[in-house]
Subunit: 238 residues, 2 copies
């Protein structure tokens, strides 16, 4: 039976599906971050491989499938494709491999026609589009570096900044202060600042896993819906 594999690898989670040529789903696999910028190269590749193999196993098939499409967050610049293409091909999971940025997965999943624009606001932010003539365009998608602001990581950083400025008097008071300290189990803004700060330098004990900050993002929407002006301003900026 002729099979195709589709992988959507993001900064937070990776999904893999195996289908037959008529589009019937036969197997599903999942894993954590498949973004080499976020997870590191080898861990990201391991997640992509394991998710794919799980999907194939559930489909009762063995690698390689005929065709594998990999929509990879972090596949932004030519150097990324030069790195990722041989690595994914070398897994031996698919005879033919096509790698695109994960914006293209969102675009094709959300449209019946073949052209349009997709905006991703996940842990990171990115956007891309395909024209009616097939031409593709892609933002650099490199965060602050390329002016691409708007993912959960940026929002979380915004929350910390706003809490700090409420604390030192330069910003407006916000319910986010109490919500964030409770969520993180920390006693004070001073302690939050200290732990975030220390985790950036190897000569301080690194008590804080910065990935915990992503869990703060829903609190921003909760506070905004509750009428907090500081949270509303941040949401409006997104």
């Amino acid at each position: 039976m002729s099979l195709v594999l589709g992988v959507d690898a993001g900064a937070t989670k990776t999904f893999a599906l195996v289908a037959d040529k008529d589009g019937h789903i036969l197997g599903f696999g999942q894993g954590g971050s498949g973004n080499h910028q976020v997870a590191g190269l080898e861990p990201a590749l391991a997640v992509i491989r394991r998710s794919s193999e799980d999907a194939l196993a559930q489909a009762g098939a063995s690698p390689p499938v005929d065709f594998g499409f990999f929509g990879l967050a972090g596949a932004d610049l030519p150097v990324d494709f030069a790195l990722l293409t041989p690595a994914v091909e070398g897994m031996g999971i698919a005879r033919r491999v096509c790698i695109k940025n994960d914006t293209m997965v969102a675009l094709r999943a959300g449209l019946k026609r073949s052209w349009g624009v997709a905006v991703i606001s996940g842990a990171g932010f990115n956007a891309g589009g395909i024209g009616p003539d097939g031409r593709e365009i892609q933002l650099p998608g490199l965060g602050v570096l390329s002016g691409d602001w708007g993912g959960g990581g940026d929002i979380a950083q915004g929350v910390i900044r706003l809490i700090c400025r409420a604390w030192d008097g330069r910003g407006q008071p916000t319910v986010l202060t109490e919500m964030v300290l409770t969520a993180l189990g920390l006693p004070s803004v001073e302690e939050l600042i200290a732990q975030l700060y220390q985790s950036q330098f190897d000569y301080y004990p690194g008590q804080f896993d910065q990935r915990r900050l992503l869990a703060l993002v829903p609190l921003v929407f909760e506070a905004a819906c509750g009428g907090d002006q500081v949270a509303q301003d941040l949401v409006v900026r997104v």
Copy 2:
């Protein structure tokens, strides 16, 4: 002869002065970054030590002096003082050591009275103040983390962001594009983005020393004075 040593250690440069108790300058020493956040702990300490020793040598004196005042950029949080105080005391350069954030150097250097506010916009940004009652206040001074925007590093990052957005069509065209590419000796915005990006990851060749970006800051003021709207908006934000 009873001597005092004063050190002003910033992210870019470190100055050390030796004076007698009447304030006559007897020796001067200088070095590069004395900020442990920027240069790393050991390199920063080595700069502070060498600058101090050079100033003492020029004064024809040997360590230790009676009193040493160290105004250190990067001395922001209690953990910093806990780290830096024994390290500086351990150098044996001064019998008594006082360490403060470098904002306090600027404040005392710029005022005849003993109280006021100092704002530093160097490679980084920071501010602090002393009240008439002697109470001191200090911003966290941790950049984006604590909402302290405005130093040369932030301006340089702003320039890159604005050039990227002018390039991909989301921002206004700006003369900064050509000025920055010429200054960095790069052929295109694509190449600039690629090199900045690659230098962030250890699995790509790191061709770009991010410190080169600081040299872009004067170009922003040059472009703003020449009438460039994009540059003017960035300067106004500072």
